[in-house]
Symmetry: C2
Subunit: 666 residues, 2 copies
Amino acid sequence: MIQFIPSNEGVSILFNQELIIKHHHSHPSFYVGNGNDHIESYRGNYKIDDYIESRIPLESYKIDDHKITFYHHEIELILLFKEIDGRLIVQLQSNQVFNRFWMRLYATPEEKVYGCGEQASYFNLRHRNYPLWTSEPGVGRDKNSLTTFYADLNDKAGGDYYTTYYPEPTFVSTRKYWIHLDTFAYADFNFKNDSFHELHLWEIPNQIILSIKPTYLELITDLTDYTKRPPKLPDFLTDGMILGVQGGLEQVLKYLKQAQNAGVKVSGLWCQDWAGHNYTSFGKRLYWNWVLNEKVYPNLKEEIRKLDQQNVAFLTYICPFLLENETLFNEAAQNNYLAFNKEGFIYKVDFGEFDCGIVDLTNPDAYNWYKNIIKTNIIDLGIKGWMADFGEYLPVDCILHNGKDAKLMHNEWPVLWAKCNYEAVQESNKLGEIFYFMRAGAHGSQHYATSLWAGDQSVNWETHDGIASVIPSALSTGIIGNPFTHSDIGGYTSLYGNIRTKELFERWCEMNVFTSYMRTHEGNRPSTNFQFYNDDDTLALMARMTNIRVDLKPYIISLIQEATQLGYSVQRPIFIHYESCSQAYDIQYAYMFGSEMLVQPIVQPYQNVQEVYLPDDEWVHLWTGDIYTGNQSIIVKAPIGFPPVFYRKLGKYRSLFEEITKKYKL
Amino acid sequence: MIQFIPSNEGVSILFNQELIIKHHHSHPSFYVGNGNDHIESYRGNYKIDDYIESRIPLESYKIDDHKITFYHHEIELILLFKEIDGRLIVQLQSNQVFNRFWMRLYATPEEKVYGCGEQASYFNLRHRNYPLWTSEPGVGRDKNSLTTFYADLNDKAGGDYYTTYYPEPTFVSTRKYWIHLDTFAYADFNFKNDSFHELHLWEIPNQIILSIKPTYLELITDLTDYTKRPPKLPDFLTDGMILGVQGGLEQVLKYLKQAQNAGVKVSGLWCQDWAGHNYTSFGKRLYWNWVLNEKVYPNLKEEIRKLDQQNVAFLTYICPFLLENETLFNEAAQNNYLAFNKEGFIYKVDFGEFDCGIVDLTNPDAYNWYKNIIKTNIIDLGIKGWMADFGEYLPVDCILHNGKDAKLMHNEWPVLWAKCNYEAVQESNKLGEIFYFMRAGAHGSQHYATSLWAGDQSVNWETHDGIASVIPSALSTGIIGNPFTHSDIGGYTSLYGNIRTKELFERWCEMNVFTSYMRTHEGNRPSTNFQFYNDDDTLALMARMTNIRVDLKPYIISLIQEATQLGYSVQRPIFIHYESCSQAYDIQYAYMFGSEMLVQPIVQPYQNVQEVYLPDDEWVHLWTGDIYTGNQSIIVKAPIGFPPVFYRKLGKYRSLFEEITKKYKL
């Protein structure tokens, strides 16, 4: 129910009895204006300077049935309020052109908000502002860390608490509403104020959608009804882990054998170098021409068939960039499938010692061509999954086929890229059997990205870019409808003296049992970082953890089902199941793995015990069977292989979990 | 002559044929609005967040005789144009209250601007913006330096290219005008745009003053006619150097004797520890109760008389803060002479392991009391000079006697402090005989600060905070009317691994011969940094350089006279004497020492030759007598003791300089 309550010089707008907008002549809720931005980009890192030339408060208003016009003299912003499917839809229209827009959503001081895409530093977004712009998240992501200092100095790549692959103008409030602003423009959502959230956009959005539900679970289901949910993950992902290895067929089959001999349950081999290698000073990189390299992976189709027989999937890699002067680039260039620069030539993106063209996904012919490349070059080989990399690099000064400003397409690009992959799988009738994982995201990724991964963490313990950061990442994307995410076991980025240790790899491995799926990565500099295949101990740990994973299969399958049916993410904030537990709302390094398990991974080195806050329930420690009453913090031992995990004593998977305790106890 | 030239939807405002304001309906020249600022301070370092809530373009205008009203519907900004003393005076008034103001001054792409107070990173301000707010300038002042990284991390004290002790909304343009905005409010002057300078203030200024002259020399004289000029420096400052030493009377007299025995011409002993010591983790600091410590300096009045007989002045130190629970603090507290906090208690400022009260200089009784402290506790002892330290620390949340918002008083504080010192000297009839040196400044420092010093440089070679940085500092304060400045020989701040070397000290010493006066400083950590009194070689160099200084006396005295009569600073940008030399406008690490000498100090380590650009003239190398034709770059040898210095071959001091060449030649 929409209500307008005019007051002395103001108006309150309520939806289902909740105050949404509180406008007053002297504290307006809407502003329009113009700004000049200056965007510098360097390999996916952006320096954005905005200069606001005007910001006009729309202090006056008039009501006309379901329409409110906020205005300042001749400048009008018309808001049309509708209720559709139980949600509030506000359509906006202005009688003049503006490139800046601000709105103030009513807020309470104690309110918390979550979402806005993937947020790796802070799950609760309150008391900070969040520029929403897809980019490299940065190395270190903490201006107080030396890692970030050097990354900024050398590559402008240090990042900050808000830099993210996946920004989205969608969030969930503890006032039990979700809101989505229908735009892909640059945004800056400011949650610093006690009495309002100020939502700033570089365009007036077409519409705003808001929905209120009595519980968080209903809220998430409603939000994912709106965004649409992804297909289920393939079953094989619960049958073991994916080994991220490379070096050619012979080499990867050796790794497989080695792992299997050590008792590791392997459900996939992810060989990103299927198209060959490229060596740069950053490390060993891929050959960006997405065609099977027969020298490196000879007879692959047949080999994949053989692997299938032992239930090992073969996975690979693709991204929307094409290496200059190679076959795909040349074909695309001939057909005008690549984005242009302002001078009318093919736009070349510098990836560090090599240049690439950009497949123009706004060109339907290019889009279909690339979709077919995915089908013919990947799916037809029997490949079951891939990393669909990048999405966050669209240069703001390139010229696109659809004629839209690349600056306004920049944030939409990841979802176009997701959709291209989705349709390739869909048209091959393989949804639910084939999957891919993406780091970049946008509104729509909920449906079109079959899963996410948290990107390129530093191979260390730093809060904002190390092992811990993947947990808030999972919670924030999860709460706005992305149920499936995971992270590189061991992290990825080894720069500025950060070298992956055995301990880090092992902690990451044990944590990822309790995520959507398990996959390792060799990192950007494989030879100087810890690798599981050089360590029998670690192989033994991987055997232990994958066996646990397989034993959990019935439970995990139920979580995947729940995700596709109700939108609940596999990793969830504790408070969505324990709404009355006030402490749970600020927990960002522990989570529910489904409704039945609580996990608080070890994310610091040299730590063998962990303090865990248990919400109000009866809990059983997975590795000892010890029973704890919740609503208190307890301390448990947590040597490697025994991450702090608890299950609900009275839940329906109790007997499954009891079996695990018996088999794997501390 | 003031001209308004209306055009289609716009108006051009000219003064003496120069276009000053180019207003158009779609590109307005004036904006008003409101903002919410949030200022965090930590020991003189400020983090200023501003949130612009409204910015209204005043797109319309109407002309009424000498008045132009720029307006937006009912919002009016009335500008009254007058010509007084050949200058343009614009008085501003608004019919509504706003706390934010923007104006766009017409600019040309090739124009350069200089001034805005003391700017240590860039002399030409074009292509950057300059927040104008008095503060600690920071340690390193370069976000790409490790020094700054650690200073930020540990003390929020890294600074940036614009952080300065002395900001002023006054600048000189190469379009040969100077402009001053009559305000002490926070400002941000943005010189990034090709066609306008955007001047942003946190209040609407009462008036704007602008003056145009045919030459830079006339421009500077006119500006300093407006600001008023300082009294002359005492003659003794040209009779040798001031030794910055401490440790008590016996100790400093030993240093004096040691230096004199080595042949150093000493004209003063600067003993900042006259009131005693305070040891903190930052280093050896002063006892902030400005009363002679008789234990440390026994019988000082008589000792000063004895020093006077050998023409050695005694110098000391004071600042506007009083150490908690000490005699001056208690006296001030009893009389309500200290600033209050919002709770009505005495405002305590944390200086790192000790707290102080702030003498409320807006309270006439407090002001006069403190002026008398300077007279009785300092001048009456026969002291000839002092460091009048601080001025940039006024907390924005303190409550002042005059009832003004401390945020708006913050930038004015340095000039109040300067005036207090000035009047103490003036009322003692000692102007021109007694002097003091200040780092903080504001509009009015030109008259009330008898001299400046460049503050606390790092004891190293870093561009933005090391030895080099004092040159743009001198040029920028100089061009807006502060003729006398100098710097600590050897620098001050030794933190984060920066330790003063002998080479740095010696290069700084030889440079400062060619500044207003020479003074050493032991730095914040005397015992771990290089000190001249531990090195006979360096004493010999100081002997050489001070003897040169004394031999230059007739020339230097003429520069001091010129400064007080015409406003020309002792250190000047090359272009003010060589207007047609286009290359000179971007030189910031070389300068004219008066009209007759060009100096380009060595500001890098291990450097024994220097490339020097000589403007179009005939030049003689001071150390060899070699003659060079200008309008070219030449290379000279520059071992220690022989900084690159040239004099005009045809100038009137030629014979004096020739004598120096003979006596001190390379």
